[in-house]
């Protein structure tokens, strides 16, 4: 009989496996286009071509997905703060 710990660990594997689909690009390819991708998202447009491949990669790669979310948050903060005074002396 399986322990709860076994089930917890195997459950994670099952979730990872179930969500796996063909992925035609690498993490580096994704990084190469991620700035273009987030600007498309911010503009409310749908990805096509290589950016659609980026989207599929992001659905399966947590690391790239996290970096994409971080970039979105960072550029939003940069835009929001463009009119604000700097938070510290620069230079």
């Amino acid at each position: 009989m399986s322990t709860e710990r076994d089930c917890s660990r195997i459950g994670r594997i099952v979730r990872a496996v179930a969500g796996t689909e063909e992925d035609t690009i690498t993490c580096d390819d994704c990084y190469d286009h991620i700035d273009q991708y987030v600007e498309l998202l911010e503009a409310g447009e749908s990805p096509e071509g290589v950016l659609l491949q980026v989207q599929r990669h992001l659905e399966q790669c947590e690391c790239c997905e996290y970096e994409m979310q971080a970039l979105v948050r960072m550029i939003q903060s940069m835009q929001e703060s463009d009119d604000a005074p700097p938070t510290s002396g620069q230079g």
Partner: protein, 218 residues
């Protein structure tokens, strides 16, 4: 303030003297603010840091990122705003460093399906066994045994180590890659191949993954 176009950013950063330093400081200020907000609002592991600490971290990350930006100006293809491209370089650099710090004490040595790397991470909360009907409980035990067997016998040792570190322990791809002596692309492909292999194996064994998922999330 008039926003520079991509061409102006490139020209100013390639110029000399005041023109260059002015562009550099404008870019630095913007990246530092963005990075500071990211560290302050989106990093639960930094909640105990003071604003001054976070500001210094942001300054350090941006300083390193600016060097990369300047070194790679020729690679900017103009497919996004220049500042988005520079922010991309900054986030990648910062997150990589934060991951390196967070996982520096973790080791993959001796990792097994049943074991765990040290220090242990909090297991994912799943439904307690008593919430399943006896029939579903038996089904879940059967799936657990099947997946454990597949992990041991269908995957290579490297595939198993990488998949367990990623899916069970939640380690970032680049940290696992570093420990396994490979790069992020190759490690991602290793794990993706392992996931596809397991998926095909389970489907060939007559397992309906949509149904099985329910056994682990009720």
């Amino acid at each position: 303030m008039t926003e520079r176009t991509n061409e102006q950013w490139l020209a100013d950063l390639r110029a000399e003297g005041e023109r260059r330093s002015s562009a550099l400081e404008a870019l630095r200020a913007r990246l530092e603010r963005g990075m500071f907000y990211f560290l302050r609002n989106d990093r639960s592991d930094l909640l105990d840091r003071s604003s001054d600490d976070l500001q210094h971290m942001a300054q350090d990350f941006v300083q390193d990122a600016l060097l990369k930006v300047l070194e790679n100006l020729d690679t900017f293809r103009g497919e996004s705003q220049f500042t988005t491209w520079a922010a991309k370089i900054t986030t990648r650099l910062a997150i990589s460093e934060l991951r390196r710090i967070r996982y520096r004490d973790y080791s993959l040595e001796g990792i097994t399906v049943d074991g765990e790397i040290q220090p242990a991470v909090t297991p994912l909360a799943i439904s307690p066994a008593e919430s399943l009907s006896p029939e579903r409980h038996v089904e879940r035990d059967s799936v657990v045994a099947l997946v454990q067997n597949a992990l041991e016998n269908v995957l290579t040792e490297r595939q198993r180590t990488a998949l367990v570190a990623l899916a069970i322990e939640g380690m970032p791809v680049e940290e696992i890659a570093h420990r396994m002596g490979t790069n992020r692309n190759a490690l991602y492909k290793l794990v993706h191949d392992a996931r596809m292999k397991l998926k095909t194996h389970l489907q060939n064994e007559g397992i309906a993954l949509d149904y099985v998922l329910g056994l682990f999330s009720e």
